[in-house]
Amino acid sequence: MIIRTRNIFKTYVIGDSQVHALDDVSVDVEEGEMVAVIGASGSGKSTLMNMLGCLDKPDSGIYLLNDYDVSKLPKNKLAEIRNKRIGFVFQSFSLIPRTSALENVELPLLYAGRRDAKERAIEKLESVGLKKRMRHMPNQLSGGERQRVAIARALITNPSIILADEPTGNLDSRTSEEILDIFKGLNENGMTMLIVTHEDEVARKCKRVIQMKDGKILSDGMNQ
């Protein structure tokens, strides 16, 4: 089991009102799954992703990642887990500006203190078909290319799971297709994927769809 959460609660206080972003959420994700999380804006799907990505801690409940309880770890430990176990792909602008594609991909390994960062980064860029453009800055790359660089960066530490937040949100349909094909390919090779999206196109490509509303899981089932 890659992910196992039990009775997770998360409440934000905005002004005078309380927002139950996650309200008793229990969800399991097994190795090799490709899960879509859908729901309207404010349904708690982003909070869920942040929680699963160890960017945030639950107010209560248990979160086991690779059977290891990460719900009460200190900040630095969480940073280490994000670095080693989780690959993030964000909606857009998730590359560091004025920093070449190669250097962006190297970064997680550099934070891990690894010395073979460059060779491995070149390998990963090659696997997403961008070896030729590795010296380019983010602003010299197209939206699709940037997302491919972000995927290469997410993959470089061989994480347990890829978490993608609206990965095709800013892309045209043809490019979206390309990115989803890459995801599918990765999943077929055994990578566990969790994609937060509001696009039906994307959800249809996933085997399992979790629908959220008001911080609760509304439905969780296999795509027909």
């Binding site: 900040k75 940073a79 280490e80 994000r82 560091i96 004025r98 550099l110 934070y111």
Partner: protein
């Protein structure tokens, strides 16, 4: 993260915002430059005063008559120092190697149609060595001429110039207060020293001066040269004891003379200059401090502007200290570069001040080290707050920061 990579990242981000970085650095550059050139002015003034003082002879002691009077009512200078006092000091004290009586006053000097009002000093031949005078042309007067009250004079170069007296005229006569004196030599210049000009004077035998020019039997001053490697304050006390004995001044009686040594004068000058240097340095340091605030300001802007980048870095595994060192390093690199450029500016500034003003400047390695390390310390101090703010940012808040 390896430090080499962190430095590269910091350099790259500084380079990407060239103009902003340069403007932030400008404050520190000016600060370091100001500290170095201000300290150079202080050190230069100090060196100049030291040089002037030591040109008067560092082993010099001067005995002058005290104020004359009883119970605190002063009625003019005492006339009680004699040629015999000078001889007694020389003969009875081992710590004194030379002694010369001095009488002095201003007199009208006339050479054909030219005249000048100059300082006439009547003294013995040892005066030249005690006071570091050298004869450039001709000769000094001799012991025999002193004994015979000869009317001979050695002229200072400024006086000679004023009178139109040159080296070909040596051997000719000038009139001192109407009396003919043969000029036997011209002194080498010592340079104008600000508060008095040692080149504008005439040296004559003291015997002649006392009898013929000023008509007095006491001397105005006794100049002494101490032996090498003796403590001048001890010697000063020995001289005073001897004079008290000769002038029959009992214990508790008031001295009718006073003795000063060159060390006292040096100390006073030194102290003044130190205060002056500290003052200049402190004013310049304020600009360095302002420069540090400039760096902090820019770093705060940078951190805010790069909030999203910080969020991404944290999401992919940067720890708080990675972020802290990245931004702290940017501030430190800026201040190190500013320090280096500032040293150049300080050296240039010191040269410029030297060339265009009457201040002589002297850049001491100490001043460079102090200014540079002060700049780097300021970079760390003012860089730390923005960097720690960056490090403390919440990853989610910064990731979704617009």
């Amino acid at each position: 993260m390896p430090i080499g990579i962190t430095i590269k990242v910091a350099l790259k981000s500084l380079y990407a915002n060239k103009l902003r970085s340069i403007l932030a650095m400008l404050g520190i550059i000016i600060g370091v430059g100001a500290v170095i050139s201000m300290l150079a002015i202080g050190a230069g003034a100090q060196a100049q005063v030291m040089e002037r003082i030591s040109s008067m002879g560092t082993r010099l002691l001067v005995v002058r008559p005290g104020q004359h009077g009883t119970h605190g009512v002063m009625s003019g200078q005492a006339q009680n120092l004699t040629e015999e006092d000078a001889l007694a000091i020389l003969n009875q004290l081992d710590s004194i190697v030379e002694a010369t009586p001095v009488v002095s006053g201003n007199a009208q000097i006339k050479y054909f149609a030219n005249n000048s009002r100059s300082n006439v000093i009547g003294t013995a031949i040892t005066y030249f060595s005690i006071r570091n005078y050298e004869v450039e042309y001709g000769r000094a007067f001799t012991e025999a001429e002193v004994q015979n009250r000869a009317r001979v004079a050695v002229m200072g170069p400024t006086t000679a110039e004023q009178l139109g007296f040159n080296i070909n005229n040596i051997g000719e006569s000038v009139k001192i207060d109407g009396l003919n004196f043969t000029v036997v030599g011209i002194l080498k210049t010592k340079g104008d020293q600000g508060w008095y000009n040692p080149d504008d004077r005439l040296l004559v035998p003291f015997t002649t001066a006392m009898n013929t020019i000023f008509g007095q039997d006491s001397v105005d001053e006794i100049d002494l040269m101490a032996a090498e490697n003796v403590d001048l304050t001890v010697v000063e006390e020995e001289v005073a004891d001897l004079l008290r004995e000769r002038h029959r001044i009992g214990t508790g009686g008031e001295d009718d003379f006073y003795v000063r040594n060159q060390a006292d004068i040096i100390e006073t000058a030194d102290e003044f200059n130190r205060t002056f240097t500290i003052l200049l340095g402190a004013i310049a340091s304020i600009s360095l401090l302002v420069g540090g605030i400039g760096i902090m300001n820019i770093m705060l802007v940078t951190v805010t502007e790069r909030t999203r980048e910080i969020g991404i870095r944290k999401a992919i595994g940067a720890k708080d200290r990675d972020i802290l060192s990245q931004f702290l390093l940017e501030a430190v690199i800026m201040s190190v570069f500013s320090g280096i450029i500032g040293i150049g500016a300080g050296l240039g500034g010191a040269d410029l001040i030297n060339a265009t003003t009457e201040f002589a400047t002297l850049v001491q390695p100490f001043a460079i080290i102090v200014a540079f390390s002060f700049a780097v310390t300021i970079g760390i101090f003012f860089g730390y707050y923005p960097a720690s703010r960056a490090a403390m940012l919440d990853p989610i808040d910064s990731l979704y920061y617009e």
